[in-house]
Amino acid sequence: MLIKKMWRDLIRNRTQFIAIYLMSFAGLLIFVGIDGESAGAARAAEAYYKQYNLCDIWVQGAGFSDEEVSKADKVTGVKDVEKRLTLTGTADTLSGDDTFMYINFLTSNEINRLMLYEGEPYDENKEGVWLEEWFARTNRIKVGDDFTVKIDSMQIDTVVMGIVDAPDYVYYVSEADVMYPNYYKCGLAFMSPLMYPDPEDIMYNRLIIDVSEDMADDDSISVIRDKLKNTFDRDDIAITDRHQDLSFATFDAEIKQHQSMGFMFSVVFFSIALLGIVTTMARVTANQRTQIGTLKALGFSNIEITVHYVSYGFVISLLGCISGAVTGYLTIPPWILGMFEGSYLMPGLNGVLTHKSVYFTILSVLAATMVGFFTCRKELKDPPAVTLKPPAPKKVRHSALERSKLWLKLDFSTQWNIRDVFRNKLRSLMGIMGVTGCAMLLCCGFGTFDSIDGLIDKMYGELMTASNKVMLGSEADYGYAYDLSKKLKGQMIQETAVELASGDVKKSGSATIVGRGNYMHIQDVKLRTVELTGNGIAITYKMAGLLNVKEGDYIKWHLVGDDEWQYTRIAQIYRDPSVQGLTMTKEVYESLDYTFNPTAILTNMSVPADLTNEDEVTSVLNVADMKKSFSETMEMMNAIVFIMVFAAVFLGIVVLYNLGVLSFVEKTREVATLKVLGFKSREIRKILQKQNIWLTVIGIAVGLYAGWGMLYIICTTVSDTLDMYPVLKFQTYLYTIAGTFLVSVSVNSMFSGKVKTIDMVEALKGVE
């Protein structure tokens, strides 16, 4: 019978239980979805890298001999070494005859193994070319088609043998500044050394090294890198590991971004939902006080009654959590992971149900159950004679305000509302919390859009003020760059990779060496534009934080490809949103005995279209393209933000609706009394709305503040390479305030509309 009672009670209090269901559902949907997405991406990467044996160490240099290969193979910890030649060239495709190509001449292909989609598996003794799948698909190239690549003056005419993916090319772009891949204009090809025009004279420029599994941690790899350096004893090589590899690092950063943002957001969301569940459950149970007393008086034991009431929360939250977790798992990961396509060539992207998700499900069910338990226990503490009576009225103390003279000047509705708020502190607090949560998530969500916008504006409006960037290839010498910069009235810069170290911490970053000109700017920690001094190097704020150094300290750094460490004083700390590392003037760079070798020229002049035909120029990028490309990389972040905004509104509605129902039920008698006394429904509605507006205003104020805090945390933890500043635009305040108000007021007017329907006689009857 009690089970029957439970089901009927669930139906009777359906608003509350649906609210609990929805909150459990939404809390778990968001948490499991976002968690499953980032965990799924991480797992796919791990599996892919493992199965296709992504190398642990890269050695780049000119012409590796077989002798060097076998020497490297003998280093402790090294499992396997393979040499390959990686070149860039062009191919004739749908998008034109100058499609940018990465061309790899592979030997055995035991490391960085190709994953075959179509055609024949790679074989170093076979002629032909293997093409990357997205590139082939975009350009409608099939197995068996003729394919021609040009490398400098060499031309290779061959046939497509297979369509593949490679674990070391999960992410590839033609230039570092083009952040979003364009497979239409940039491709990837693999060939056997047999295909090289002069196979006898092939000079392998890369060694890829696989480390034995027990040595695959960062520390051991660093040790192996040092050993390799000694083994080769050459100045012209660069030894890097996965963290410096563009493909690995970019994908890794993407996952970390999702994890930090997703976790933060879903935990906040989950907590608010949980709070809603807990308070609702407590109130629903407490409202059954008389029934608890009756059951007890009839002779049900405390245990039977407790089990009965605990099962409400258990059943509903279990249903809500499980359906939420399942829905979250089934919908969000495919949606977000679907967006990886086109940016990342990662096979096997599927959502994962993590342990964390299971724990949160259990936690959530447990919370709803425990609340039922404790509330019920509280009611069972007294003998049935006491529980059968309505609870003793709360002791009322006059607040300081009520004693002041001001009080008497307030009108009745204000007095009534002030008393009501203070007498039902928990309910009022819950109302504020609901509004706060809604405002906070909205503010943080819109703020994330603002911050990404702010980041782009800063990068391409304040820090780099040129409208075009001419990228120079390795053929361009200083003389050429100098002449071109004169012609374009431009500024020469050299961008290169570095490794920085302080104490035990090593980080890879990028170095920017700036020639004379006025297109590159830096901003100090307080975001004021400052001049780059010539007294030393400047390092980015984020990098300084990672290395735990400050202005005036010395740090060690070296160029990637040059093993000579520099020990230089940090003259300035500056902030850069997207590139972390160091910057210095050409003069400082040259004083360290390096040769300034410009890699790009920044200019505001329009660049002649035929400039790219010159061998020294690889491409010309304009600011609009760079902005577009950057915002495309933020697409997935935007998706998460979208979920956040959507969830905020949903949560706001559920929490506020639910609270509205509960408060309305509790206020029924008072409202009926007011009606009996002769208040018009319209006046009563005004009184009720007044309180709601107060609570909403407080909630929004707290929510904006909390939202800023949440945004700040997201911005500072989002990744090692992004230094985002929290930005809240005026519109965000507007949207947040208006949005929250709309949700809160419209939900409340649904209830105040019910004032008319209260039957005075019925409402006042029935209680002793």
Binding site: L2, Q291, T294, A297, P383, L388
Partner: protein, 259 residues
């Protein structure tokens, strides 16, 4: 079996029944010995009941009579094991309820007591039948719910929810629920309080039948002195004390009472 001289401050009228010591069949079910119930609110102490002494025999119909706030409900709550006394002994079949722990009290309520509440206290989400059948969850050898409801004349409304029934029907359901438990003690708190005269009379009749035909001990709390006429014993309560205990030689039939 013994009868105590009631030491009341007010002059009380005692009808000594010592002579029916011979009637060995009349077994004492419950006995109050110097029972008091104290409530304290901060510094203030307030006796809802002080030094109550009386006993109730098996199969007796007892009416506890008194104005509001006299301590009748307290007395009933103590009888039903729904509240604990602050002093004295409450003997049920010789065992002292005041020494019972929570579990023992629950067991006592479940096995021995049926309560008819003033406001019925039916479970709103269960039908009349289900409310009565609920007792099967607590106790073995309960009466058949259909029969219990039939006995109170509710066979036709059996599958209605409390909110669909009139006050009298709800009260009768409440009685059916108490009776179905087949309890030793049937306790009724103002069973006619919320009912009109006609319905009230039917309820009274029903309770009297329980007592006379089914040999149940019925204790009824009321402020209506007319009900004294149908009781075997009338206990008058005033200001937390027992004013008088009167045994009716010839109780009236419920149908004869008019109010």
């Amino acid at each position: 079996m013994f009868k105590k001289k009631k030491k009341q401050e007010n002059e009380i009228e005692i009808v000594d029944l010592n002579e029916d010591d011979t009637q060995e069949d009349a077994h004492t079910v419950i006995e109050f010995v110097g029972v008091c119930k104290k409530y304290s609110q901060g510094e203030n102490e307030f006796y809802a009941l002080k030094d109550a002494n009386f006993s109730i025999k098996e199969g007796e119909m007892v009416v506890i009579l008194g104005p509001s706030g006299a301590g009748k409900s307290t007395l009933l709550n103590l009888l039903g094991g729904m509240d604990s006394a602050s002093g004295g002994q409450i003997l049920f079949d010789g065992s002292d309820l005041t020494t019972f722990n929570d579990n023992q009290l629950t067991h006592y309520r479940a096995q021995n007591v049926g309560v008819v509440f003033q406001f019925y206290n039916l479970i709103p989400t269960l039908t009349a039948y289900e409310n009565v059948a609920l007792m099967r969850d607590i106790k073995n050898n309960t009466l058949d719910p259909t029969k219990a409801l039939e006995a109170v004349g509710l066979k036709e409304h059996m599958h209605q929810f409390p909110s669909q029934m009139s006050g009298g029907e709800q009260q009768r359901t409440s009685i059916a629920r108490a009776v179905a438990k087949n309890p030793r003690l049937l306790l009724c708190d103002e069973p006619t309080g919320a009912l009109d005269t006609g319905t009230g009379k039917e309820v009274l009749k029903l309770l009297q039948e329980m007592c006379r035909d089914k040999k149940r001990t019925v204790v009824m709390v009321t402020h209506n002195s007319l009900f004294a006429e149908i009781a075997d014993t009338v206990i008058r309560v005033r200001n937390g004390g027992i004013e008088s205990i009167v045994h009716n030689e010839d109780p009236k039939d419920a149908s004869e009472v008019n109010w």
